[in-house]
Amino acid sequence: MQATTAPEKIPFLRDPTKRSILYQLVTMAGVALLGYYLINNTLINLERQSISTGFEFVEKEAAFEIGESLIDYSAADSYGKALLVGFLNTLIVSCIGIILTVVLGTILGIARLSTNWLLSKLAAAYIEVFQDIPVLLQLFFWYAFFYEILPGPRQALDLLPGVFLCNRGMIFGVPHYHPAFGYAAAAFVLSCIAVWFLRRWAIKRQDATGRTFPLFRASLLMLLGLPAIVWWLGGAPTEMNVPVLSGFNFKGGITISPEFTALLLGLVLYTAAFVAEVVRAGIQSVGKGQREAATSLGLRPGRVMHLIILPQALRVIVPPLTSQMLNLTKNSSLAVAIGYPDFVSVAGTTINQTGQAIEGVALIMIVYLIFSLSTSAFMNWYNKKIKLVER
């Protein structure tokens, strides 16, 4: 009798379900109130300053020039196009930066583990120094390096034949345009697809019959050989567009602006130090026994690395590596401090000219959120793919 009445006696606040509903309602009400308060204030303020809300401004004429652009852009174009230019600039500096960072970081990480004392200590010093200096300071340093320390075009440093470094940026030669290069690029894409199918076929055959296929050598031959043959068939153009000094500047070749180079240099050198630590930790995470077991099975050193060490190390390396790539992308927003027209910089100019602060900042946030959300989507997919199959 008593047992049946007991549940009804629980006071309201002692019942976990009801209490949790109450807490959640209170939180929701609090957030809603705060939101209402802020939005209300904002609306009043906007009205007082007679700023219109909304994204109509992207249609208007931007009326400012952008130093470097991947697509045709002039001051007469709209804000929307200016923002697109900024977006592409962010994208290109991030993409090139990520590739260079991974290469440099891997080299540094392996150098850190080298049995060569000198090399290992040097890599350790590099990692410690570059991790501990703010990336913005490094950007300022490289920017000053270009404008103060490097000589003018007349005394440009000749790094390699055809590659010059001076206070106008980095200048190097490129091949003259020829349709053969386009065909070769198409051939490369085709051979990539072919390699993918070849790999599937090789794995399937090995699973079925146990016969291995020299996949690496065949793929390399295809990836390099096919484009080369196409290039040769296309007339083998070798003419180069080499920069030549004329007057006060270089003519010909491709010029990479000091801003871009300084930004790339700063981001790559900074992030590579972190990537090196990630790579080192990944390689060290694979137990010594794994290598010994593989060797005792009679695998050659190259196979040991490829079949045993790398798959296990990559599982440890890839998640922090992606977060470093994301960091690099986010840090590329510091371009605004050295005058490279990335997305944040263009959006900042737009905010200053139109007064559309909220929309501008929202755009910045959305763009970076797209980057990071797509990265984490990739990460989830990858983690699922390489997850240990446990029994």
């Binding site: 949790s20 807490y23 959640q24 939180t27 929701m28 957030v31 802020l38 204030n41 904002t42 009043i44 303020n45 906007l46 007082r48 080298s114 049995t115 060569n116 004392w117 000198l118 090399l119 040097l122 410690e128 120094v129 991790q131 501990d132 200096i133 703010p134 990336v135 913005l136 300071l137 490094q138 300022f140 340093f141 000053a144 390096f145 103060e148 320390i149 986010k330 840090n331 927003s333 510091l334 605004v336 401090a337 944040v344 900042g348 905010i351 602060a357 909220i358 501008g360 900042v361 910045i364 946030m365 970076y368 959120l369 980057f371 990071s372 959300l373």
Partner: protein, 364 residues
């Protein structure tokens, strides 16, 4: 028998010279194999290219305590750009005759940090002395009480501002981060989703967008007539930003706690807050001390971004000095000096974090 009696007469055979001592070490660590020998030679050649020139530039040909005219005359480094402007670089526009106050505040901070190094000294007293210490530092900087002249926050600058933004930023962000982490682990869907959205949103955007927000959007959020000064706004942005990162670190610690701990606490009849305060958080926060120090390091480095919204932190005062026509063109020297300050602070912190990691590892 024979062999034992003969032993004293036999000369002890030493290992070959090539295996021990300096030569042995060099062979084992620098020239073990043709590839490493080649690498060593390449690295030595590289060092030979770089080091002598740098030493000549930085020390032999350099000038240290002169005016700018002497600097123009030398080929070496002009460290005078720092010695001549040191007070502005370090303290910004803080009134000249009051600069002992931020200096004292920084001294207090260093003393507190130094005292807190030993884990055996971590107790309630220390926590209280930190609170008092932070208050005294703020008071020294701001003035206006106990006969200290008030100094407008617009005049704060240089190293004290950098330290202020990072130390106060982390102190305020930590509790917020812990609450967010607990919220993310919560079983209440509304609270959990608010926390997840906040954390992922903040972690997905660069700090600079938050600083932009604090400088251009935040004033719009406030009712008419209310203004918040620029430093406080930047400080709030840094706190909101750091809190999201701390939340993720603390979440890692919470996930590292065994389920049994929750169940044990529950079976003792502790409620949620007691469980968290007495059982879970003390263990979880202990695990996350090393990663928290790395957050402190990155927060310290990230304060340099306030340059972009024109606050006079260490980096901005340096740039201002460099824009003086008298000292134009000595960026390398000035930036190396600032980098050295950042490096010393961060290196000390990361070393400390490594030491802690070792200590915490052994007593598990």
């Amino acid at each position: 028998m024979k062999s034992t009696t003969a032993a004293p007469h036999r000369e002890e055979i030493k290992p070959p010279v090539t295996e021990i001592g300096v030569i042995g070490w060099i062979r084992a660590n620098l020239f073990n194999g043709w590839f490493n020998s080649l690498l060593t030679l390449a690295v030595l050649y590289l060092l030979w290219l770089i080091v002598p020139g740098t030493v000549k530039w930085a020390f032999i040909d350099s000038v240290w305590l002169t005016g700018s005219e002497e600097c123009r005359a030398t080929d070496g480094a002009c460290w005078s750009v720092i010695s001549a402007n040191i007070r502005f670089i370090l303290f910004g526009f803080y009134p000249h005759d009051l600069q002992w106050r931020p200096l004292l505040a920084m001294g207090l901070l260093v003393a507190l940090l130094f005292y807190s190094r030993e884990r055996s000294r971590w107790n309630k007293m220390l926590a209280w002395s930190w609170l008092v210490g932070l208050f005294v530092m703020g008071l020294l900087l701001k003035g206006g009480l106990f006969g200290l002249t008030a100094v407008e926050s617009a005049n704060w600058g240089g190293l004290p501002l950098t330290l202020l933004l990072s130390v106060f930023g982390l102190t305020a962000a930590y509790p917020v981060g812990v609450v967010l982490a607990l919220g993310r682990q919560s079983e209440m869907p509304v609270i959990k989703s608010f926390c997840v959205v906040y954390i992922e949103l903040i972690r997905g955007v660069p700090l600079i967008s938050l600083l932009f927000m604090s400088s251009v959007v935040f004033p719009l959020f406030l009712p008419e007539g209310v203004t918040v000064n620029k430093i406080l706004r930047a400080q709030v942005a840094i706190i909101l930003f750091t809190a999201a990162y701390i939340a993720e670190v603390v979440r890692g610690g919470l996930q590292g706690i065994d389920r049994g701990q929750y169940e044990a606490a529950e079976s003792l009849g502790l409620n949620y807050f007691q469980t968290m305060r007495l059982i879970i958080l003390p263990q979880a926060l202990k695990i996350v001390i090393p990663p928290s120090v790395s957050i402190l390091i990155s927060a310290f480095k990230d304060t340099s971004l306030v340059v972009i919204i024109a606050l006079y932190d260490l980096l901005k005062t340096t740039q201002t000095t460099l824009s003086d026509p008298k000292w134009m063109g000595y960026s390398a020297e000035a930036y190396i000096f600032v980098a050295l300050i950042y490096f010393i602070c961060c290196f000390a912190m990361s070393n400390y974090s490594r030491k802690l990691e070792k200590e915490l590892d052994t007593d598990r």
